[in-house]
Structure formats: C-alpha cells, structure tokens
C-alpha cells in the first residue's frame, strides 16, 4: 500500500480511529495487525520473511541476554547476523551475484532466479532488527520479552518499508506507553504528512516525468538536457525519500510515536561530510554505529580511517542496490569523504572541537556559505548520475556528454530548443522548478527548527495560509499517477 494511494487514505484514518477507541492493552496488537495488513498489500507471502526475521532476532535477543559467556553471546549474534544477511542476500543480491559470476566465469552452470519478486523494504527491517540484536549484545538496550511489542517494533507500518531505520533504544520504550488522542500532537503529525505529500507529489513525482524521459533513453539527449535531468534527479530523490520520511514521521506522530529525524536540509550542507550528517540520518547513523566504528572508525590512524570510510560507503552503495552503478556511487562518496578529510580534515576537527567545548565558531559570510553549498551540491549531484543511471554504459555516456554543448549554451533560443524535446514545457517543468524553490525557501525559513516547530511559532493567519498553500500547490502541481517511492526497492 502506497502512502500516496486512495487505499492509504482509507486505511490510515481507520487505523487511527481504531487505535484511539480501543482499550489500551490491545492498542499494540491493533497496530501490529494494521502493519501486517499494510505490508501484505504488496505481496502477502513476503510477510513470512518479515515474520521470520522478527522471530529470529527476537529469540537471538533473548539468547544473547541469557548467555553467560561473551563468546557464546558473540556466537548467537554471529549466527543471527549470518541468517538474516543470507536472506537479504538471496532476495536482493542473488541475481546480481550470479550475473557477476557469469561475467567472470562464463562457463559456470548457474542460473538467475527470474521469478523472484523484489521484497519491499527488506533492507530496512533487516537492518533495524539486526541493530536491535547488536544493541542487546553491546548492552545498549534491554532484551525485549514481549513478542508482540517486538514484532511491532520491526513492522511498525509508517516506517516499515522505507525507514527511518529506528533504534531499539528510541522506539521500544515508546511501545510500553499508552497514547491518547492529543489535538496538538495529531495536528502536528498531519502537518508533517501534508508537507511530505507536497514533496512527494508536487516535486518528486513531477520531476520524475522529466528525469525518466532522459535517463531511460540517455543517448537521445545531450549537454544541457542531461545536466537539467541530473539536477532535477537530485531534488527528485531528496523529495521522494524525505517526503516519505515526513509522512512516516507525521503518521507515527498522529498515533503518539516519535520517529527520529531522517533529513536535515542536506542541500544546504557546507561539505560532503556535512552532507552525510544531514542525509538519511538513520541509515548513516546505522553504518556509523554498526560498520564504521566496529571497523575501528578513526581510532587506528589515518590510512585505516580512509579504508574504513571507503568500506562503509561501498557497503552503503551495495545496500542501496545490487548493481555496479550503486557500487560506483558509494565509492565516489567514499572518495569525496576521504579527499575532504585529507584537504580540510584538520580545520574541520578544530571547528568540531570548538563546538564541543562550547566556544563560538565564526560563521563564514553568506556568499561563502552559498558557494560551499553549491560546490557540495555539484559533487553530490555528480554521484547521483551513477545512482540513477540504468547501467554503467548509460552513466558513462552521461558523464561524457554533460558539457558537450557548452559552446552553444548562449546561442539565442538554444536552451528552449533543448528543453522542448525532453518535454519540459509539456510536463510542468516550470511548476517543478517553482515547487523546488518554494521547498528550499521553506527549509531556509525553518532554520534549526523542524517545520512543525517553526509553524507553531507563527500566528494563526500565517499557519492557515501555509496549510492552504500546501494543499493548493499539491492540487495544482501534484502528480497523481501513484508512483512508487524510490527507496521501497532498497
């Protein structure tokens, strides 16, 4: 069931209403049933996978907790990780693995499983439940003894298929509380959801019409067309994913749960390291805590730090998809991070140290911040080419032809003649750009607050003007063809 579907428009109010009228002791059961129904609306049989993942990690948590020796705890954890990663590998990476093997050894008699359907959100719930086991192993969280609560932690429908990847330390304690209807909380949640729908429908999905036209047929496009499609894709993926997160956070908030913030104005980032602190925060944090730090983090010298960064980003690339393009995307971002540390690491560490010590840090002037943000955006957007391209061949073609028409750029009518064939004027291109500008302006206006906090500080006419504007913008410019969220595939 998609958030942007009529089914969800019916499902969500029913779940919310039911949740607030039923007795407290069955509220979590109600949410669990709703969550499984939500998930089974894609492919009912794959609910067995999530059930298996839930049972195995739940039992693992109990075993780790009850084990007396560290060695035994480690064994339980290792077995559980292997089982869950094996399932993830089979359903997500098996075909990619077979393809790679066949490329290397064409004589091998091994075949792909072409009947396998993509399992929606498998990477998300696998990582979330594995994170719980690792937390129990590290003593960061208590074992969960209530299976229903644990099952709800793994399958909670707002964040089940595309995050945020919640931490057991944040979410499990919330499941022990009972939430009653609270007007302010519910309206805050609805505002977040509306803003998420704006990002998804008015920016991501309408931008996708133009991006797909170019990226699905790259050799028919060149120069400015490829640049525009790549820039638009940066906003498409941001609004698609952060839109989903906003809807998830808002929906959870309506029910009373607080999910972690997943994005913090990533395109205002001043450098690539800063970008990764603002982008998909729950996943970046997961990789930091469960991959980068266990590998040694930055504690074992510079070279080892750079290697750890590269490993983490390569795994992050593979996490996003089973294709070489994602591996290159991960490698590029790893490389950006390493280069940045090499060039500016000392200065950045000094700034962080001053911030840690509560000392004032001199902000660069506005023009410098804008310049930094633009340069960072350019690097990140360049890496998005590999993330979005349908194949390495396409990606290489795009890179080679990005600036092929730079000499003609200022010729009269050239830009228009380039934009027309990609459907810019037919597919609401101007509306997409307008909505992107509005979204970025709102993010600037938010400052360090969340959107809801910022709006709640405003007088009621401003608040209502905002609500009305969001709805009108969605109604005028939204795409209502029910497109999937990009991150469902991960």
């Amino acid at each position: 069931m998609l958030f942007n579907s009529v089914s969800f428009l019916i499902f969500f109010p029913v779940v919310v209403l039911g949740y607030f009228v039923i007795p407290a002791k069955v509220k979590n059961l109600w949410l669990l049933i709703a969550s499984y129904y939500f998930y089974m609306s894609w492919q009912p049989v794959y609910a067995l996978l999530i059930l298996f993942s839930t049972i195995s990690t739940f039992v693992c948590g109990l075993l780790i907790d009850s084990a007396r020796s560290r060695k035994r705890k480690k064994l339980y954890l290792a077995v559980n990780i292997i089982i869950n990663i094996a399932i993830l590998f089979y359903f997500k990476y098996f075909n990619f693995f077979v393809e790679t093997l066949l490329e290397l050894f064409p004589s091998l008699s091994i075949a792909k499983n072409n009947n396998m359907l993509a399992v929606v959100g498998i990477s998300f719930y696998t990582f979330q439940s594995l994170g719980y086991c690792i937390d129990v192993y590290n003593g960061k969280t208590e074992k969960e003894t209530n299976f229903l609560d644990y099952a709800l932690f793994v399958s909670f429908f707002p964040q089940l298929v595309a995050g945020p990847i919640e931490r057991s330390t944040n979410f499990l304690p919330q499941l022990k509380k009972t939430y009653k209807f609270d007007y302010d909380r519910v309206t805050d949640g609805l505002v977040m959801m509306a803003w998420g729908f704006f990002k998804k429908l008015a920016v991501a999905d309408t931008a996708a019409l133009l991006v797909n036209a170019v990226y699905n047929d790259v050799t028919n496009y060149t120069g400015v067309q490829l640049v525009l499609a790549t820039v638009l894709f940066a906003f498409q993926i941001y609004c698609d994913f952060s839109g989903y997160s906003d809807i998830a956070i808002g929906a959870a908030n309506v029910l009373g749960f607080k999910l972690m913030r997943n994005f913090y104005h990533p395109y205002f980032a001043q450098n690539v390291v800063d970008f990764w602190r603002r982008w998909h925060i729950s996943l970046s944090g997961w990789f930091m805590d469960y991959i980068y730090i266990p590998l040694g983090g930055s504690r074992k010298g510079n070279v080892r730090t750079y290697v750890n960064i590269m490993i983490t980003f390569l795994i992050s690339g593979l996490w996003h998809g089973a294709a070489y393009t994602f591996v290159v995307w991960g490698a590029l971002n790893g490389l950006y991070n390493v280069c940045e540390r090499l060039l500016f690491g000392k200065k950045q560490r000094q700034i962080r140290q001053r911030q840690k010590n509560g000392l004032p840090v001199k902000q660069p002037p506005l023009y410098r911040r804008i310049f930094n943000a633009l340069v960072t955006f350019a690097f990140i957007d360049f890496s998005w080419i590999f993330f979005r391209a349908n194949s390495m061949t396409d990606a290489v073609y795009i890179v080679r032809n990005l600036f092929s028409d730079i000499g003609s750029l200022f010729a009269p009518g050239y830009i228009t003649s380039m934009l027309t064939p990609m459907g810019f004027f037919d597919k609401n291109g101007w509306a997409v750009i307008l909505c992107i500008v509005i979204m970025m302006a709102v993010e600037m206006w938010e400052g360090k607050d969340t959107l809801v906090q910022r709006i709640n500080k405003c007088p009621w006419p401003v608040r209502w003007a905002f609500y009305y504007s969001v709805i009108i913008l969605i109604a005028l410019f939204g795409y209502f063809g029910q497109s999937q969220f990009i991150y469902f595939q991960f």
């Binding site: 007007y183 209502w464 609500y467 009305y468 709805i471 009108i472 109604a475 005028l476 939204g478 209502f480």
Partner: protein
C-alpha cells in the same frame, strides 16, 4: 477530537472551490459536453447558425446539445449527411432536431437516439434516415469517430442484447471527477490555455448563411452545404457522381448479405421505440441515377443495396411504419438535377419525397414506396 473535526472542516471551502472549478470548466465535457462542441451547442440553443462545423466532433456536439437543451425535440432525425438537410421546415408546428452525423455508421444509427433518450428527452417522432450500409457488418464500414462503447451500452442495457462488449456504466462515476485532483489540474490548465490559435465555432448572421464557403450548422441540427457545392453547375455535380459510380461504392463492397446481428438489433430497436409510444418514419435517401445504374450493372457485388430496401419495406409493413424515399431515384421520380453529387440530394428535392412530418398521410402518398 471535535476540535480537530472543526479544524478539518475549515478545508471544506477549499475543496468546494476546487470542485466548482472542475465542474464549471469541465475540460473533458463530463458535465457540460466537450469544449468547442459545448460552445457550439450553446450557440445553437440560442438560435444561431454556426461556422466551423467540419472542425467539430459532430457526435460530441449532439451530446452537448442533448445535455443542454431544455425540452425534448418532438421530432428527432438520425442518419448520415444524406439525411442532414432535413430541417425544421419539415416539421411545421413541432420542434425538430437533426441528430445526423457526417459519415454516420451503424453505431451512430443507434446512439443518435440514445444520447437524447438517456437525458430523458425522447422524441414523439423518430425519423430514421437509413443508409444501406448500416446492415453491412464489415469493419471498414465503421467510422472512427462513432462511439462504439455507447452503442454497446445501448444495445446491451436498453435493447437487452447479452454478451456485448460493454460494462455497465456507473451513472455517478463521473462525479468522482469532482474530487479527482487530476481533473482539477486539467480544468485549471484548460482554463488558462491559450485558445487563440484554435478555430472555434462562430455564429453566422442569418442573412449570410447561404453565402458561406463552408458547411453551416443550423440551430435545428441540420446543415447547409457551402455555396459552391449547392450552386455549382449540374454538369460538375453529375461528373462527381459519375466518378463515384466508377469507383467501389461507399461502404457497399463486400456486402454479401444483411448482417444478422444488425437486423436483429434493428428490429428490436423498432419494437423498443414503439413500446415507448414513439412514432417511427423510415426515410431512404436516394442515390444519384449514375450510382444506382452502376449498382444495377454490377448486381452481384451490390445486390445487398437492393436487399436492404426490400428488407426495410418488409419491416415497414410488419410494424406499420411509413416509409419515404428509395435508394433508387427512378422509383421516386428523381433525376440527375435533384442531386448535388452522387450521394446527396438537394433540399428541395427531398421535399418531393418526404412530406412535412406529422402531415405525412396527405400529399406525398404516391412517393411512398
């Protein structure tokens, strides 16, 4: 909870405005009929003659007219352009609407009636302008502009023919468009669209309607051909007819026999109309003498043309229906000069074979075949 409901209710005006915009602009013509056709129908309802008919969708125009006309036309006419010269002068004292269509096929034959009946505007008298090809079931005889779905709906839902390619319409489904954001977007886009480049139908002053260089659509649905076509030299008209006669006759080739399906539907249609108390008149628009001679000369190919006429005569007898005209011009005492080309009779010549409707029993009984 009540507070939340009250606050949510504050969005109702916004929703109402969006619904109103969708309803009034109605880019797909769900509520008012299609754009220019709706505009044309409004002119017609205001008694105007309009230009630009050939650029309009005649079917959509009839639908818009049927939706928007306040009271039913007492006389309704269907048929192809061969019947579209029958105008209000054939209906003294009664309202008439000619729902014929250029290139009308068997689907149009049924749907021309249905678009009025489904609006609750059934006529007292239904004049069937019957072209022979409506009984020819070859797929090439179907006009791409006709409404196949509506035809299947009519014969399935109204005439009771089962297993038709038709799914019953939900009459309320169109109202879902009012809460469909895509329809709202379409409405806004259509409202602001630059329509200056599009040629819209324009009213033509009444004293100039016979001087136009294009077909004029009359407020009663009939048409007036352009001045050149009507006034050209008879030799040119005959030359046209001769050319047409030397080519495969329009929609009459591969016409081995009358379609069993279409004849069953035709008979059921007659019974259906008579059960509703609607009087029926058959009008068979004649062909130019050159055409009929060509058909007679190649009787093996074109025998069904004559079979249709015999069949219709049988039906007229069986159901006690007056029948006027004949595909054979000689049978109704017409000559070359009565025709503007191979297929189209002059309006004055139609008067020779079709009486003023409602007074049929008087003066033209002899032309009744």
């Amino acid at each position: 909870m009540l507070k939340l409901i009250v606050k949510l209710a504050m969005f109702i005006p916004l929703l109402a405005v969006m619904m109103y915009v969708s309803y009034r602009v109605d880019p797909s013509g769900l509520f008012w009929g299609a754009g220019f056709e709706r505009q044309a129908s409004e002119y017609m309802l205001a008694g105007e003659y309009i230009s630009g008919y050939e650029r309009l969708d005649g079917r959509a125009l009839n639908e818009a007219y049927a939706k928007n006309v306040e009271s039913r036309p007492q006389i309704l006419i269907n048929g192809s352009s061969r019947s579209m010269l029958i105008d209000s002068s054939f209906a003294e004292g009664k309202t008439l609407y000619n729902a014929g269509n250029v290139g009308a096929d068997v689907y149009d034959f049924f749907t021309s009636y249905y678009i009025f009946s489904r609006e609750g505007k059934e006529p007292e008298i239904f004049v069937m302008g019957i072209d022979p090809w409506i009984f020819n079931d070859g797929s090439e005889n179907i006009d791409k502009r006709s409404d196949k779905e509506l035809y299947f709906q009519f014969i399935g839902e109204e005439l009771g023919f089962e297993n038709q390619q038709y799914e019953k319409d939900n009459p309320y489904e169109k109202y879902l468009a009012l809460i469909d954001p895509s329809y709202f977007q379409g409405s806004v886009a259509y409202y602001f669209k630059d329509k200056s480049a599009e040629v819209s139908p324009q009213p033509v002053p009444k004293d100039e309607i016979y001087n136009q260089s294009e077909i004029i659509k009359c407020p009663d649905g009939s048409i007036i051909y352009d001045v050149y076509f009507r006034t050209r030299d008879q030799q040119v008209a005959d030359w046209d007819a001769l050319t047409a006669a030397n080519m495969p006759l329009m929609r009459l080739v591969d016409f081995e026999q009358l379609s069993a399906d279409y004849t069953r539907q035709f008979e059921k249609f007659i019974e259906y109309l008579q059960n509703k108390g609607i009087s029926i008149i058959f009008y068979l628009p004649p062909y130019h003498p050159y055409i009929i001679e060509a058909a007679l000369a190649d009787y093996d190919t074109y025998h069904s043309l004559f079979d249709v006429e015999l069949y219709l005569k049988d039906m007229a007898d069986k159901y006690d229906i007056p029948i006027y005209g004949s595909y054979n011009p000689y049978a109704v005492n017409l000559t070359n000069t009565d025709f503007m080309d191979g297929l189209h009779l002059r309006q004055d010549s139609i008067r020779k074979i079709l009486p003023v409707i409602g007074e049929e029993s008087n003066n033209l009984e002899e032309n009744n075949i």
